[in-house]
């Protein structure tokens, strides 16, 4: 058994008549980047809140870094970025950060040094301008998000939990956050993030867990999940539309399913069909091919297959 950052054993949580999380078990290895994936309302935030001891599970147990999650001082080792982000609007940035650090037990002088370091890294403190003395509501939204990242990481947590970290981020901040996640992993810290954006998850995660309706659908390492999903996939890009290729792609003997995302098609081959045959048929049909590549199923595909089986709720946005 490898060292586990989080070990959840059959937790269940109900609210006034509906079950938000049902019998969920999962293990997050130490040092991993772990994706908690699921459509909106799947129970991701509830699970995270239970890990953080904000909510108490009706049944089941949670262990963090080898200790029960209710242990004194355990929350000081976790950094948490909630989905709904916010700070005290009327406080000066540096004071907010000092407060957040103090809540995690970081000593004031140490906190100040770290704040300066982080603010410089995220360009909130430059030669011309120090935003530390500005009030939070004088900052742009993007800057406030940066301040919030800093607040999450000031106490150098061993375990970082990010709830929908990419929602509402502009591309620059999204990139900054990805860099931070990669950095954290390099430092040996464990990062868990929940998302419904499969592309970011696919790029960042070592392991994933997909949940729907409060229940686990599948979990495991990304490569393992992909190989377990089975099937052979071809990423296909056609130069001049799909018109010529359509009859070929509709042949059930050859193609099980073709997912058209406009510029690229994800084609799952029918059992027994050879990619070579597909290529020949496409060329024969007169389609002009830009890209033809054997690929593993995308996380997006796996997600749709897995969650689709459970019935996707309204509002699901599988693609990002």
């Amino acid at each position: 058994m490898p060292d586990l950052a989080i070990e959840i054993d059959r937790i269940t949580k109900s609210f006034a008549g509906h079950t938000a999380v049902k019998d969920l078990s999962l293990s997050v290895p130490k040092g991993a980047v772990y994706g908690l994936l699921g459509p909106n309302g799947a129970g991701k935030t509830t699970t995270i809140r239970m890990i953080l001891d904000i909510l108490e599970p009706d049944s089941g147990s949670i262990r963090i870094l080898g200790r029960p999650h209710t242990d004194h001082g355990i929350t000081d080792r976790i950094g948490y970025l909630p989905e709904e982000r916010g700070l005290y609007k009327k406080m000066q940035v540096r004071r907010v950060l000092r407060f957040l650090a103090a809540l995690k037990g970081v000593e004031a002088r140490e906190a100040d040094a770290r704040i300066t370091k982080w603010m410089e890294r995220l360009e909130l403190r430059t030669a011309e301008k120090d935003w530390g003395t500005a009030k939070v509501d004088e900052l742009s939204r993007g800057m406030q998000q940066k301040v919030q990242f800093i607040g999450t990481l000031l106490h150098e947590p061993e375990l970082v939990i990010l709830d929908e970290p990419f929602s509402g981020l502009d591309p620059i901040n999204a990139q900054a956050l990805k860099d931070i996640v990669v950095d954290l992993k390099r430092q040996g810290r464990t990062v868990i993030f929940s998302t419904h954006l499969m592309e970011s998850a696919e790029r960042l995660c070592d392991s994933v867990c997909i949940i729907a309706h409060g229940e686990k659908v599948l979990d495991g390492g990304l490569t393992e999940v992909k190989s377990r999903h089975g099937g052979r996939f071809v990423a296909l890009a056609l130069a001049d539309g799909a018109a010529a290729a359509t009859p070929v792609l509709r042949d059930p003997a050859l193609v099980k399913r073709a997912d058209d995302s406009n510029r690229t098609l994800e084609v799952e081959l029918a059992p027994g069909a050879e990619p070579q045959t597909l290529l020949e048929r496409l060329v024969d049909a007169g389609a002009r091919i830009d890209r033809f590549e054997l690929v593993q199923p995308s996380l997006h595909r796996i997600f749709l297959d897995a969650v689709g089986a459970k019935g996707v709720e309204e509002g699901v946005t599988g693609h990002g």
Binding site: A16, R49, L52, I54, L55, E56, T75, D76, I78, Y80, P82, E84, R85, G86, L87, Y88, K89, K90, M91, R95, F99, L100, A102, L103, K104, G105, Q148, G151
Partner: protein
């Protein structure tokens, strides 16, 4: 413990640093100073005016009453003395209309009519431009009364020296409160002090209770609550908030009380310098023990109400909703204030007693009663016990509502939902 301290420090520092705190803390003493200095200065204005003696006296009594009054009028170098017209009773009407013309022409300020009725002790009449000046009229009334008495005494053949001595009276009512321990200082002073303390307690509880309420709503609205409760148990957060804001309240009160005390001490010298007569402000005798009890009542009252306000804050999402939802709490708080006047008039009444026992009004009314009348220590002790119990219940309820409500958004909970929140473990 370190976390509780961090929360308290944030609540305290952010508020004490705010401009609002600065304004209120400075404005309080300034207002108090105005209240202390202005009334005596205004009272100066109600003293008789300089030229109050510039009147015409129409004397139809035939006893020299008019001359006597004229002689008693205060003399000022600038103003002319009263003109005394001895008229026959029959020609009084004509004399009055001439006098009216004189007033209209501004020759005199007014005229005083003395007739048989005046001597009988019934009435005298005055008409003039300064008829609405309280100071002038009071002076005139006093002089007329005295002169009438003197005239009557003379008519009774009392010699003028004795008459003057007999007519000299300066009635002034000195009031003093008595209790079972003997004299307890001036009754008025105690009533004022009682009112002042009750009002100060009420104001502070309302002000800072609402501050707690707004603080909770702010944390909900800005969604900062979730970050904080991921690091701190909600009970600690609630306690820190209530204590931090309470410390701000105490800071402000101490500043107010100290400056108030200094100003009250300075009042007499300042007024004397301004030329007004000033009695030194006397303070009700308060023993250190009762002062301690006073502070205890304030702290308990504040904790009781602010935790209820915090619970209300956790139930709602914006200040409009908060106004409605905090109505029950406000009503509890206002009840003692509605009876304040009744209680001030008679601090020993049954109403006063009952309101000083009930936990929700005791923090305001008990200190008032203690200052303005005397309350057995036994009774005070039992009341404190009651308030402590109520505080415990309020804090327990508030902590449970707060814990669930803080991360709940959407519509306000119904009473049955609220019951579920209270029963829910977490």
């Amino acid at each position: 413990m370190a976390k509780l301290w961090a929360v308290i420090r944030r609540e305290y520092m952010e508020r004490v640093r705010s401009r609002w705190f600065l304004v209120a803390t400075v404005f309080g003493p300034v207002l108090l100073g105005i209240l202390l200095i202005l009334p005596p200065l205004l009272a100066l204005r109600t003293k008789a005016s300089e030229d109050a003696a510039n009147i015409r006296i129409l004397d139809a009594t035939g006893t020299g009453l008019g001359d006597r009054i004229a002689a008693a009028m205060p003399r000022t170098p600038s103003a002319p003395m009263p003109q005394v017209f001895n008229v026959a009773p029959g020609s009084l009407t004509a004399a009055e209309s001439t006098a009216t013309h004189a007033v209209v022409r501004n020759d005199v300020r007014g005229y005083l009519v003395l007739d048989a009725k005046t001597l009988a002790g019934d009435s005298a009449r005055y008409a003039g431009r300064n008829a609405s000046s309280i100071g002038d009229m009071e002076m005139l009334t006093t002089i007329v009364r005295r002169s009438v008495v003197l005239t009557r005494l003379e008519q009774a053949h009392v010699d003028s020296a004795t008459a003057a001595r007999l007519a000299e009276i300066r009635p002034k009512l000195a009031t003093e409160r008595l209790n079972e321990r003997g004299r307890g200082g001036s009754g008025m002073v105690n009533a004022f002090a009682g009112f002042g303390i009750a009002f100060l307690l009420y104001m502070t509880i309302v002000l800072y209770g609402q501050t707690v309420l707004r603080g909770v709503i702010e944390e909900k609205n800005t969604r900062v609550a979730e970050v904080v409760v991921a690091s701190v148990p909600t009970d600690t957060l609630l306690a820190g908030k209530v204590l931090g804001v309470g410390a701000v309240g105490i800071t402000q009160q101490v500043i107010w009380l100290v400056t108030g005390f200094v100003m009250a001490k300075l009042r007499a010298p300042v007024l004397t310098a301004l030329g007004a007569k000033a009695d030194p402000v006397s303070f009700p005798p308060v023993s250190p023990a009762s002062l301690l009890v006073l502070v205890l009542f304030f702290v308990l009252g504040y904790v009781f109400y602010s935790s209820l306000f915090a619970a209300v804050g956790a139930m709602v999402n914006n200040e409009q909703d908060a106004q409605q939802a905090s109505m029950p709490v406000i009503l509890l708080l206002i009840t003692p204030m509605l009876f304040l006047q009744t209680i001030l008039v008679n601090p020993a009444s049954r109403t006063a007693e009952v309101l000083s026992w009930l936990p929700f009004s005791a923090p305001i009314i008990m200190p008032l009663r203690m200052v303005s009348s005397s309350v057995p220590w036994m009774e005070v002790g039992l009341t404190i016990l009651g308030v402590l119990t109520a505080c415990g219940v309020a804090v327990w309820l508030a902590a449970r509502i707060y814990r669930v409500g803080l991360l709940m958004y959407g519509k306000r909970p119904s009473l049955s939902e609220l019951g579920r929140w209270i029963r829910a473990s977490r």
